[in-house]
């Protein structure tokens, strides 16, 4: 948003995020949750809304929601229930959605915004680092079917109908589009850590509606909220907000009144368009679902607490403490659960966990990125990386030899680092051999040798380089340097 808008108006953004849960079966029937099957083959009387069919709660989905809530600091009420939300649409076979109205599975809690979750270009300049966005609630409901609109007709695939869907509602605590982006990223990271969803927006596993309102600086009461729909990526969320805040700011500047409404984001032209105003809003006529009994939760909560996974920021702290790496490195490694697992596996028992982190961040990630791979498809095993670092640390091979071994390992993942080092003839030179090289270097370079004798340290590096060349990289530069000093200054 422009500085002008930001100075004049306070922006309040709230997000409603829908997350498909990774369960074997649907929310209210035993049909499998799966993608890519032939349309309308994963259905039964329940998810087709046939006369007489009845829903049965999926306990696995409930447990995953409670776990998500615990990881986000939410409270679960002792009794929760499900309600019918009525509106007619062909993708909803009963013409009511089973959702939770006034007794949701989770209340309160919050999402901590991780530095690395912000868009790259603003990470260096985060206005409120360490901010947490408060959550209103998380409830569990059923997904609708998938509609496809053709020229003269629409088709519906009920395979998706009834997939467990968690709706995470935030307070309107977000104040910038960048923060909204960071919120989604941080939330996704936590949900992946919780193991409840892959939460991939591009795959529709995570979907997001945004509410945004502006009010003049100094005004207490929130302005009229505008809901944005059709946001299919995190970048769409951010861009639509930039656009919408500017649009509302200009409208307010022109003395116009913002009315409560829903607008559709058009990603191709980068604009929001009015869909409907409050007058057309549905009356959902919520009704406690008489087919489902209220659920008592205390035992489920106690059970979920037993094996609650570590949170991303907890992992960062642990990595700092256990492995002695920097906060930044730990944050990079913990930003992806699989990457963190890989690192932890490689670093545990390594001679230098810090060096392992350097290798992962400075070498491995770049290679993976170039080759279009990610850590789960990485050819180099964590064990081999550890061995490689150990060889270098033990001065069995030099750093530059290490890089050669690393490249070779990516080509031949089945070999071990020591086998490759041996093949390449990388063996530590014995000291008499090195002493001979040192003598050779000194006699060939009397000028620099004289400078070293006179106390010039820069010339040590030059001579060391010469010795390294003679040893074809086998010598340990540190040892060589010490040898040169001993010879010339001893």
């Amino acid at each position: 948003m422009t500085t002008a808008t930001a100075n004049k108006y306070l922006v309040s953004i709230g997000l409603e995020v829908h997350v498909q849960l990774k369960t074997n079966s649907k929310m209210f029937c035993s049909c499998p949750v799966r993608y890519g099957d032939e349309a309308n083959t994963l259905t039964c009387p329940v998810c087709l809304g046939l006369p007489g069919a009845m829903p049965v709660l999926n306990l696995g989905a409930i447990k995953r929601t409670i776990r998500s809530g615990l990881m986000l600091g939410c409270k679960t009420p002792p009794v929760v229930k499900w309600d019918r939300k009525s509106y007619f649409y062909p993708d909803m076979p009963k013409n009511y959605q089973i959702t939770q109205f006034d007794l949701p599975l989770c209340e309160g809690g919050g999402v901590p915004l991780y530095d690395l979750a912000y868009p790259k270009e603003v990470q260096k300049n985060i206005p409120e680092p360490g901010k947490t966005i408060a959550l209103t609630r998380i409830h569990l409901e059923e997904d609708v079917a998938k509609s496809t609109h053709h020229a003269t007709f629409s088709s519906i695939d009920f395979n998706r109908a009834g997939t467990p869907l968690m709706e995470i509602v935030s307070e309107p605590d977000i104040t910038t589009p960048d923060e909204a982006f960071a919120y989604l990223n941080s939330l996704r990271q936590i949900l992946v850590y919780a193991g409840v969803s892959d939460a991939d927006m591009e795959k529709g596993q995570m979907r997001c509606d945004v509410n945004v309102s502006l009010r003049p600086q100094g005004q207490e009461k929130l302005g009229s909220k505008v809901e944005l729909k059709n946001l299919n990526s995190m970048s769409a969320v951010r861009r639509s907000l930039y656009y919408e805040i500017e649009r509302q700011g200009e409208a307010l500047d022109a003395g116009e009144l913002i009315i409560q409404s829903t607008r559709r984001w058009d990603d191709s032209i980068g604009e929001t368009r009015l869909m409907r105003t409050k007058e057309d809003a549905h009356d959902y006529r919520y009704l406690p679902d008489p087919d489902l009994l209220p659920l008592h939760t205390p035992e489920l909560v106690a059970e979920a607490k037993i094996d609650l996974p570590e949170l991303p920021h907890e992992k960062v702290t642990r990595f700092e403490e256990d492995f002695g790496i920097t906060h930044y490195d730990a944050s990079v490694l913990a930003s992806d659960q699989n990457l963190a697992n890989y690192y932890e596996q490689a670093a545990t028992g390594a001679s230098s966990a810090k060096k392992v982190a350097n290798w992962v961040i400075n070498n491995l990630l770049g290679v993976l990125n170039e080759q279009g791979l990610d850590i789960t498809t990485c050819p180099l095993t964590a064990e081999n990386l550890r061995e490689l670092v150990d060889l270098i640390e033990a001065e069995q091979i030099s750093n530059s030899q290490g890089r050669e071994v690393f490249a070779a390992l990516l080509e031949s993942p089945d070999k071990t680092p020591s086998a490759i080092a041996k093949e390449k003839g990388f063996e530590p030179a014995d000291s008499s051999e090195i002493d001979a090289f040192i003598d050779q270097a000194i006699s060939a370079n009397p000028g620099p040798a004289g400078e070293v004798s006179e106390g010039n340290d820069k010339a040590i590096n030059f001579l060391t380089g010469q010795v390294m060349k003679l040893s074809r990289g086998k010598a340990n530069p540190k040892q060589v340097g010490e040898g040169i000093i001993a010879r010339l200054r001893g």
């Binding site: 009387p45 087709l48 809304g49 046939l50 006369p51 007489g52 069919a53 009845m54 829903p55 049965v56 709660l57 019918r84 009525s86 007619f88 062909p90 076979p93 009963k94 013409n95 009511y96 519906i156 009356d283 006529r285 919520y286 009704l287 008489p290 087919d291 489902l292 009994l293």
Partner: protein
């Protein structure tokens, strides 16, 4: 027709085979149903095929049971008495009770007429046909399970399943002179019963005798993983209550159920039945159910609220009547439902939609839920003093076809003694207890209602059977 017990005996002795029974029924239906109009459909060939492989060792082996046309039977139509589904829906699955019936060896045979979507008390709201009371064909058979009661009274069935949301089993049973038992809410699976009001609906047996009701109830009771409201409560051996004596049991007589509006002949008939129970050793105790007067209003808010959402699925998208004149999606919804639903169904959908609307929810639905709690409490307190409650089933005997068609309130009042049991979730039975006589000399059956504690269907069977055995009212219309 033979009772289930008699039929089973003739199967055992070899006097009769299940195929014989089906053929006899088919013949009776052929000759009788043109006048009674109780069956919407029946598939004799399919029933005969099942009869041929019937396992007579099972509790209901080879016993044909008529099914109210609101329960899904795989491969059969299920019209719910509605134009919306008539000819436009074939059930692709078996309801929970049908699975249980099949497991007990029974043969579902014939689909009984009913008020559209079980909304009504006379079966006149069926969009398919008007069923007549076999005792006086100018009169209604009661409803909404009017077809299920009429097929028994007219010898067109051995036994039947009905469903009871506000009296829809007990009231037609009383008006047609057969036995009808509404189980405790949660005793019998509702999976596959096309829902009218989900918190009130319950499937139950309609039979010639109390003993048969016990047998049929035994077969359909018990937990079903497809219905979360169907309890895991152990199912007792209901037949063991048959023949037990009732000495010393306390029978409550709610004063509110014998007050104004009760036909004098019905009243005296039911009082005579209570005297009979007393002579068998029961002890009558006057009780009060103080919130009775609010039952009908409460019922019509809760039932219609639930119905308005339950019937939302009938949208012509996947099945059912689709209007041919629709201009767009909304128009398709509107016209299909306008054309497919009858007056009473539309009235209740609109009423239910209204009471759930924003701004009205607290005043109607929430208030009704509170009153429902009070009504339930009335029964809990009464059952601290008595074992059973006895009352009439209906305020009047069967009325004339068309008599109340234009007066929904008068029709709603026909359920005044039965509705509270559904709101409280308790069980009840209607047992024939005599007749009134019409001006033109026809006999009209009267029913005695016994209400029991939650999951105490055994008590209903015990007292119902003791009464039945000591009287001679169990006969069918000839």
């Amino acid at each position: 027709m033979p009772t289930i017990t008699e039929l089973r005996a003739s199967y055992q002795s070899g006097d009769l085979s299940p195929s014989d029974a089906i053929r006899t029924l088919a013949d009776t239906i052929e000759s009788t149903d043109r006048e009674i109009q109780a069956y919407i459909s029946y598939d004799t060939d399919a029933a005969l095929a099942e009869a041929a492989k019937a396992d007579l060792s099972l509790p209901l082996g080879g016993v044909p049971v008529a099914i109210k046309d609101v329960i899904n039977v795989k491969g059969q139509p299920c019209t719910c008495g509605s134009k919306f589904l008539d000819g436009k829906y074939t059930a692709p699955y078996d309801a929970g009770v049908i699975k249980k019936l099949r497991a007990a060896g029974a043969i579902p045979y014939g689909r009984a007429n009913m008020d559209e979507f079980a909304m009504g008390s006379s079966t006149e709201n069926s969009a398919i046909q008007t069923t007549r009371n076999p005792w006086d064909t100018s009169r209604i058979p009661g409803g909404s399970s009017g077809g299920s009661a009429a097929v028994i009274a007219a010898n067109e069935a051995i036994a039947a399943l009905g469903s009871d949301t506000g009296g829809s089993i007990r009231q037609p049973a009383a008006l047609c002179g057969c036995v009808g038992l509404k189980p405790t809410y949660g005793r019998v699976s509702r999976y596959g019963l096309v829902a009218f009001a989900s918190s009130l609906d319950q499937i139950g047996p309609m039979t010639q005798t109390v003993e048969d009701a016990a047998l049929l109830l035994q077969a359909i009771s018990g937990h079903d993983a497809h219905d979360s409201t169907c309890v895991k409560e152990a199912v007792p051996d209901f037949n063991s209550f048959v023949g037990q004596d009732i000495k010393g049991i306390k029978i409550g007589l709610p004063k509110e159920y014998f007050a104004e509006g009760l036909d004098p002949e019905v009243k005296s008939t039911v009082e005579a039945a209570i005297t009979q129970l007393e002579s068998l050793g029961a002890e009558p105790v006057e009780i009060s159910l103080p919130h009775t007067e609010y039952a009908i209003a409460t019922y019509y808010i809760i039932a219609t609220a639930e119905a308005s959402t339950n019937l939302a699925r009938f949208d012509a998208v996947r099945y059912g009547h689709r209007s041919e004149n629709a201009a767009n999606l909304i128009d398709q919804y509107r016209r299909s439902r306008e054309e497919g639903f009858g007056e009473e169904v539309k009235r209740r959908i609109i009423l239910g939609t209204y009471v759930l609307s924003s701004g009205y929810y607290d005043a109607y639905y929430l208030q009704a839920q509170k009153v429902r709690t009070l009504i339930r409490k009335d029964f809990t307190e009464a059952f601290e003093k008595v074992d059973l409650i006895a009352s009439p089933v209906t305020p009047t005997p069967a009325f004339k076809i068309g008599e109340k068609s234009d007066d929904p309130m008068a029709m709603y009042l026909a359920d005044i003694y039965t509705i509270s049991a559904n709101l409280a979730g308790i069980c009840g039975i209607s047992v024939p207890c005599g007749f009134t006589r019409t001006d033109d000399g026809k006999q009209l059956p009267v029913g005695l209602q016994l209400l029991g504690k939650p999951f105490a269907e055994g008590d209903l069977i015990k007292a119902g059977h003791a009464y039945e055995k000591s009287t001679d009212w169990q006969k069918t219309a000839s």
